[in-house]
Point group: C2
Chain length 293, copies 2
């Protein structure tokens, strides 16, 4: 496994494979968990070359967010990548990847200003900008994203389509801990009490999903059901709900009636930790993204 920090160096190295080998790419901010590993394994299965990037992208953090305290267990991350037979880890330095006086930004308008974008101004603009840089650096054939960050995955799919990137985007199902909490590098911020309250996220989504399974198609009623379970589980003195919405999985628009391309998406602050989760209204996949899409 090669660990490369210099963008030009990895660009040159990987460009030699184009047309010969299929490159699968998993962009990450490190602090790898089983969710990331599921993407890496999928990439390993489907490609000749697997590239993982580890880069805590300052551009996607707001001024009051956790850029500084975001976990960076680089040794463990590299160990995990090696174990999964990753070929290249791209691990750029912030200063060499963003030149001083960086001025260029990529933005998917509308989709980036709703849901999480309403609460994290500039976040998705930071994501689409760094993903464009990473795509140009790695030039993959396929790139893998997790369903946990559903809005992000949908925005990136839209960006790839709008800007004609010759890259296939694959979205892989959420991976959960045994207690149901969606895996996230930010879960380490939770103390045991908070973690208990955080379990209400998935519980609420499951309740909404069950209600829908029984035939309820009215989005408002499902939303109400999810909210009820959430309010039971959180401590409103310490926690707060950013949003609970039923959305279209392409346009991100709010749905009135749940149909084929619908998901429930939620964002909740448990103490000072912001958590997101979602469920897709698909019985065959049991609420998960169909990763063959």
């Amino acid at each position: 496994m090669k660990i490369i920090r210099d963008p030009v160096k990895i660009q040159n190295l990987l460009s030699k494979f184009s047309n010969k080998k299929k490159i699968g790419f998993v962009p990450t901010m490190g602090a790898l968990h089983e969710g990331h590993l599921s993407l890496i394994r999928k990439a390993r299965k489907e490609n000749d070359i697997v590239v993982v990037s580890i880069f805590v992208n300052p551009l996607q953090f707001g001024p009051k967010e956790d850029f500084k305290k975001y976990p960076r267990p680089i040794k463990k991350d590299l160990y995990l990548c090696k174990k999964e037979n990753v070929d290249f880890v791209f691990y750029p330095d912030v200063k060499s990847y963003y030149k001083k006086d960086h001025l260029t930004f990529v933005e998917v308008e509308k989709l980036s200003s709703i849901l999480c974008g309403r609460y994290r101004k500039g976040h998705f603009k930071g994501v689409t900008t760094v993903v464009t840089k990473l795509f140009n650096t790695v030039k993959p054939d396929v790139a893998y994203f997790g369903q946990k960050d559903l809005q992000q995955a949908i925005i990136i799919k839209k960006m790839v389509e709008d800007l004609n990137f010759p890259i296939k985007i694959k979205i892989s199902p959420i991976v959960r801990d045994s207690d149901g909490l969606a895996l996230s590098s930010r879960n380490v911020y939770l103390n045991p009490e908070e973690r208990k309250r955080a379990l209400s996220l998935y519980r609420s989504l499951k309740e909404g999903f069950n209600l829908w399974s029984k035939g309820e198609k009215n989005a408002k009623k499902i939303q109400r059901c999810i909210l009820n379970v959430l309010y039971e589980g959180i401590d409103t003195k310490k926690d707060s709900i950013d949003y609970v919405e039923i959305i279209d999985t392409e346009s991100l628009e709010k749905k009135e009636i749940i149909d084929k391309k619908s998901a429930a998406v939620i964002a909740v602050r448990i103490g000072s930790t912001r958590l997101i989760d979602n469920i897709i209204f698909d019985k065959d996949s049991n609420g998960l993204y169909n990763s063959n899409d």
Copy 2:
């Protein structure tokens, strides 16, 4: 010469050459003149495969601008491309290139809102967005732009650097008509009287350049000299000056003292036709961009 309208088709065709053949790319809006042809000839000399795109990009025109009346002599353009031994002409249809509900934009901030950007809101955002699309479609090794649109060329260089496009940008010198007018597809809008007044653009730049050649380094004095010549040559009842500035050829910042990386840039409305021109303070190249850069 292959003429291809479908973005996916040309993307697949050209991707087969990557790693094997060097692709030179000349993006144009058609209405080709000797300025474009100089870029195409340079591309032909320096690459194995030459791709020219012809696309009047609606995104870079303001609502009151000349998108509809912009000349589209496609037959002549194709004839000229063929004569110059172009390999591929990419000639997309607006509706198939911008899907309905296009939401993604690329912007080089700061540089896009000054000079021409102040007078043409959104223009450069439209340019950088379409150039990103074209770069992703064609995946060239080298792309050629003209010095006449100096701000555009500088913005694209910055975009390529900021977003890690593995593409070399080359800027080629302005080509002028025998009377000195910088070639532009918009020159056809000028009636004979207007054309006479339009000659004051280059005349003023030459005067400024001569003053500098004699040792004047003060940007304000050069600017004043250019303005004086301009005001003599135009008809202030019919024409107006958007700007005359002495700028840095990388940062586009206004200069106080003319040094190595300096240019005079001007934009003037002759009747209803907006013209731009510029000169680089370089004696060796006689005011032209050193195309070996």
